[in-house]
């Protein structure tokens, strides 16, 4: 039998890796994939609590999270294509035209 806190620990570690990836990488693809890592950490938490609390609400919310992640990925990748076409770069620290 697996204790619940193992899942919560795994989810926390995965979320932290995602946070560090968002904050420290330059490539915008890796930043988006780190956001997906954080969403997956939340999904693990939701499914684990849904299993241990005997309620299906967590699994329903995971379906919604996956839906929102799909829409977010589509729009974000369209924006990245626009950025790369207009600015010729995918590195976030080169997008500084609003800097005073």
């Amino acid at each position: 039998m697996i204790p619940l806190w193992w899942y919560v620990m795994l989810s926390a570690a995965l979320f932290t890796i995602g946070v560090v990836g968002v904050l420290s990488r330059r490539n915008i693809f890796i930043i988006l994939m780190s956001i997906e890592l954080m969403l997956n950490a939340a999904n693990i938490n939701l499914v684990a609590f849904s299993h241990y609390l005997q309620s299906l609400t967590g699994q329903v919310f995971v379906i919604f999270v996956i839906t929102v992640a799909a829409a977010e990925a589509a729009v974000a990748l369209a924006i990245i294509i626009l950025l790369a076409r207009n600015r010729g770069s995918v590195y976030v620290d080169e997008f500084n035209i609003m800097k005073g």
Binding site: A12, T16, I17, E36, Q54, Q59, V62, A78
Partner: protein
């Protein structure tokens, strides 16, 4: 016992491939490690009796979203990939910050008590039937809102990525 060993294997592969995802220089390699990560997260879902969600994870995340990422990464084909630095200049601070967050969260988890023991887990609730009934009765309005979100994502992606016409 065997479940714990399987969980430890899944957790180890998930953490290692997550670290490799955020540290590789080539985005295509990152996508491949992300694929490995999604497969093992689906395995964790199977351990938690959520078989339908494991299938959804594989089909939607690994089959649709990740392929979309891979297409765009290969479409843009940014060279200079071998010479540019992969992290911004704040990365040691950010890693320290991440370790701080992780330590704090794990301390909180270790101090908390989770009321879960052997007999309290559900047996057959991971099936499609219960999930469908819950989704279409209790959560019908959020379900329709999710479909609106998908429609907005579809239209928005097409509108953003098409060639701008010169008027």
């Amino acid at each position: 016992m065997i479940n714990q060993l399987i969980f430890l294997y899944f957790a180890a592969v998930i953490l290692v491939s997550a670290v490799l995802t955020v540290t590789r220089r080539n985005p295509v390699h990152s996508v491949m490690f992300m694929l490995l990560l999604f497969f093992h997260i689906a395995g964790v879902f199977v351990l938690l009796n959520a078989e339908f969600l494991a299938a959804v994870q594989l089909i939607v995340y690994a089959g649709a979203i990740l392929i979309l990422y891979l297409f765009v990464v290969m479409l843009l084909n940014v060279d200079r990939e071998s010479s540019a630095p992969r992290a911004n200049r704040f990365w040691p601070w950010m890693i320290g910050f991440g370790l701080l967050i992780a330590g704090e969260v794990m301390l909180l988890i270790a101090r908390g008590t989770f009321p879960a023991e052997e007999g309290k887990t559900m047996q057959h609730a991971g099936g499609v039937r219960e999930l469908g009934i819950s989704l279409y009765q209790n959560y019908l309005v959020p379900f329709e809102a999710a479909s609106i979100i998908l429609l907005v994502g579809l239209v928005g992606a097409v509108m953003l990525a098409k060639k701008q016409s010169k008027e």
